[in-house]
Assembly symmetry: C4
Amino acid sequence: MRDLVEIGMGRTARRAFGLDEVEIVPSRRTRSSKDVSTAWQIDAYRFDIPLITHPTDAIVSPAAAIAIGELGGLGVINAEGLWARHPNADDALTRLVDAAGSGPSGDEEVPLVPLLQELHAAPIRIDLITEAIKQVSAAGVTVAARVSPQRAAELTPALLAAGVEILVLQGTIVSAEHVTRDAEPLNLKSFIADLDVPVIVGGVHDYRTTMHLMRTGAAGVIVGYGSDYHVTTTGDVLGIGVPMATAIVDAAAARRDYLDETGGRYVHVIADGGVQTSGDIAKSIACGADAVMLGAPLARAASAPGRGLYWTTAAAHPSLPRSQVVPMIPDDYQVDLRTLLFGPSNTADGEINLFGALRRAMAKTGYSDVKEFQKVGLTVRA
Amino acid sequence: MRDLVEIGMGRTARRAFGLDEVEIVPSRRTRSSKDVSTAWQIDAYRFDIPLITHPTDAIVSPAAAIAIGELGGLGVINAEGLWARHPNADDALTRLVDAAGSGPSGDEEVPLVPLLQELHAAPIRIDLITEAIKQVSAAGVTVAARVSPQRAAELTPALLAAGVEILVLQGTIVSAEHVTRDAEPLNLKSFIADLDVPVIVGGVHDYRTTMHLMRTGAAGVIVGYGSDYHVTTTGDVLGIGVPMATAIVDAAAARRDYLDETGGRYVHVIADGGVQTSGDIAKSIACGADAVMLGAPLARAASAPGRGLYWTTAAAHPSLPRSQVVPMIPDDYQVDLRTLLFGPSNTADGEINLFGALRRAMAKTGYSDVKEFQKVGLTVRA
Amino acid sequence: MRDLVEIGMGRTARRAFGLDEVEIVPSRRTRSSKDVSTAWQIDAYRFDIPLITHPTDAIVSPAAAIAIGELGGLGVINAEGLWARHPNADDALTRLVDAAGSGPSGDEEVPLVPLLQELHAAPIRIDLITEAIKQVSAAGVTVAARVSPQRAAELTPALLAAGVEILVLQGTIVSAEHVTRDAEPLNLKSFIADLDVPVIVGGVHDYRTTMHLMRTGAAGVIVGYGSDYHVTTTGDVLGIGVPMATAIVDAAAARRDYLDETGGRYVHVIADGGVQTSGDIAKSIACGADAVMLGAPLARAASAPGRGLYWTTAAAHPSLPRSQVVPMIPDDYQVDLRTLLFGPSNTADGEINLFGALRRAMAKTGYSDVKEFQKVGLTVRA
Amino acid sequence: MRDLVEIGMGRTARRAFGLDEVEIVPSRRTRSSKDVSTAWQIDAYRFDIPLITHPTDAIVSPAAAIAIGELGGLGVINAEGLWARHPNADDALTRLVDAAGSGPSGDEEVPLVPLLQELHAAPIRIDLITEAIKQVSAAGVTVAARVSPQRAAELTPALLAAGVEILVLQGTIVSAEHVTRDAEPLNLKSFIADLDVPVIVGGVHDYRTTMHLMRTGAAGVIVGYGSDYHVTTTGDVLGIGVPMATAIVDAAAARRDYLDETGGRYVHVIADGGVQTSGDIAKSIACGADAVMLGAPLARAASAPGRGLYWTTAAAHPSLPRSQVVPMIPDDYQVDLRTLLFGPSNTADGEINLFGALRRAMAKTGYSDVKEFQKVGLTVRA
């Protein structure tokens, strides 16, 4: 079947697929889970599991970033979030949790966007974000922080000074070619070239922008921005979106072509969107991702700062919010982070033992490392 | 993929797509929202935003038409609606709102069709509609009114005398070739040729009828009639309908071919249907529309005469109604019209800041005007 | 797009479409409703509207058959139903209605199948069915009755003697070639040849069986058996079914080929299934049907013997029922039969003014008779 | 239509279909139900109906296995389940049923996975499973038991000694080529060759693994593992799955090719998944299965040990459960096993008279045995 559909006279649209439409096909071989490695490495930094957090205050505090790092993943602190704006970010989060108190539970939105907007109206303080990053750094885990393209030039020096080892430059939609009349846009290529730390940049949704961003010198490119998920509402608000299975496959094609173009430079593809269960993590890798940027599934950790609430940074936009605030779990369902990531699970819904499940999915289909697993067979229900 | 499907032996059907099935794809470039223009122009009339109202009493009173005009859109008064039939239309609307009082909220229909039928059984009074139009005209905004093909010949002279500057000739399905045995049908071509004001005509659902209507001299053609929406029930009642994405693309193809045929006459395509959120507005333009005819989303304005209820004129048909009466919003969710159109929004559902969102969608995909944005890439989920 | 899908290695399945997946496309012409004829004729019998009733006791009593006939349709009495088994069928129906009394309303099933089975365990009495048919005949309308293939030979002589003018020979799935070891199967060809009245036979779901049945001399072939509808459960119970749009198109192809083969013998295609609204009636004709066999929509008539309950004859099967008993309407929503068929309607859901809506659908797309309307353009949402 | 879809640049996925997407097409011939045989034979064992049970304690106790055998099917005892671990398995089941007591009914999950995990933490006792098998054997029906690949070598000798006649070697996903570094994996080929009883092995999801397993000498291959069903959550947890219609068709292709390769060795294809109704049983055979492995539908039997609860063995996995525990029925809806299998039914939902319905589906489409029915025509709704 061709990938173009004529949706009307003289106009074609690309057929695109979500993670919910694909499934992994077992192959002729199975393998013991013990013989499987889920490790990956970006620049000099090695991780036991292909997990980067979405940089939302709902799941990443300095303490949570340390815990995630100690368990083999990478927590990313939002350098423009509550920890950068409030001396006591925990109090701010308590206001949110209290306001949600009488709300529904089980994946229904609660009207907390106005409160998030108010909390983000406080100015960013370099001293606060510096303190937060130093706290993570002191624990000995890899330190990462996120800035937006708009504020990258302003905030990055302080972040590096505080000890950031991996910089995440992330907006809803980022291009290598931002046009503006009344300000000097960020020149990504020179910005990255001037830095001594690896930069992960995104989100992108198409092959060409991925190529462009790879050519800026980025160490990793983020595909999606929580797309496909009812928390993120980019589709409702802007009409923009590419279902994640297709978006990841396209970015992986860019990675391959850029590798060829450069004779060997490998830029990582990090999938940010569409993941609700451990099965979705496996599918993201199967579509070609090197790692997943996890958001909502981590809100179930007892240590998550949002205490069960989840939102992305887009929820706090002052004039056009593009994320709901969603209670992910009933109060009594929180689990400790280690169990959430590695089990044992006592539920069959794919929400606990997230990376034990990835390991088993790889074993059941006969693959022993993440890079190989990107080639596993897929079916599609469309 | 071909656009024809063999649905049985020897019979093909055209594959057609709704706005909910397409999504806009970001491109390699992004742009500042400030550098984007959403303006458009029809004949001598220029508008800041590509917004025409569906001509229903639920959202357009003389006062509402003035407010919409002052904010850069075009309000269209229904010359066959309540303002044309009742000396105090507000009282009639109060009866409706009171009758709905104990009804459900949140997009469920209420059984108000019989009351609407009763209210529309009163005769049209030229003096009343003249007064309504003069009220709008006096405010200095562009004045538009809608007539049906059946009553166009009878009502138009009075409308023009009252000050109408753009005439909207609109029925559920309009053709350039109406056949009838016992009356002289409206000859659209000579009707339009004899007028001094631009005429917008529709709704149409296919390429050929769009071409025919363009050839009558119309300044704009309306695609759809609230199609794809649960308020409008043309599909349930008549089995007729073309999903809006395909319908808009086809009409845009007719616009292009007619432009070529005439060596430069540009007839505007106005999309009327399938729009629930700001994302749908962006998708309508992306499919090729020059402007959108908005209905239900405007029912959320505090100033909407229907006070949160929405229906189209087809709801009042004496023997075969084809529109439900639907409460669009809980009482405490109304916003002022300016905020509805331009924000700021404090909700992530795409229902507020409708045209700020369009501006941002264009910026995020690198386009600077409406005409260019019609070429943006699309994906389809089918 | 080809009509075959490879569902696995070496195995193809036919793509098939339901009425809910197709929509009618307006054409370049519109027409006045007054200039449209919905009449059709089978053998010597002419009807104002293309309506035959599904032969269920839920909607057809002798009185209801008379009322339907007087309004231009054809009511079919089930010669194996309650009127054939109980001296006072109304009492039997009252038992059903009473048993349903405390049940839900609004399209949910009630567990009345066991009671229907019990009521159908009574033997068929020739005197009772004779009396019922004579009652209809005395009113001067066309008289039709339904028998199953199993009992056709036994019951038909009495039915003809009582005055039946059109015989409906109907089972869930009927073929021209029934194989059985321990009894002589009905030879349809000689059975029909020996009769002086036109025979309508079905249901069928494919082209080849339709051709075979046309060759037996049938005057009409019934496509479907209430298929596509939640009342009928042939798919759940037997796994058998062809969505109605495809089934009707295929039967129409057989009609065309048989017409060619015989040099002019026109056998009518009657669609029995998938119809919930007036829009579905229009779509059935648009797919190629000459008439529709209506069931559930007629349960809303105040005169329907089931008093709002609906079921097909398959509900009473002694060991394998294949129809639910479903309350179609709240008690206060019944309308008189004339209004149900011809309006005026005061609701926008396509459930009232069923044939006024068909007339309008034809007018809006420019067609003036049923035969022409079979050629109208279609879109499909798949 | 081709069976490959390009889901992104340079990556294809196989289109796959579930049983819910296919329907059986009637053919030109019908037949009397009495002339239909549903019998099948594996090795020397003949069965009246193509029914093997899924080896879960929810539906198979020794007593239930006897009852199923006496009615013409094959009950499979789980040699690693509760009867192998608890001297009084009925008490263990009572604990489950009591814990579920206040839970919902009607296909909603209850949080009983932790209790199942606890009950399965008890060690397997050879004496207990021996006793259970001898009980079945004493009744004179064919005796079958299930082991996992991990414990097959350890448990099989005792099972054979106890009287097992057919061995079912079943895991979620089984291959002929299991790779492990720290233990000697089971060599299926020599394992099977050394046994005197026929071995049924699975689950598999693809053509190649099916071929490999057939080449190990298996008498039957199980396709799926309760796939497509909301009870089983392999897709949510592992992202793995192939919709059953495609999986069965592919396995049947392997059966055909293996038959050719060996010049006549026929290995049976047993479908385990996607069956909720009698219609699904018919569809499984129609796709190419020789028999179905039934699970949830048998939970409705009054004699089912789970007393209305259903789960698969994967629910008890100590660290990564992949099955919910689901109450299948309201308490008062249980039916005796004979009625469940052979009717009469007094409900139209396809849940009673499961194999009477299969017989009728074959008759209505003109087929007289299971092998022929594998060729019946299919439609697909995609």
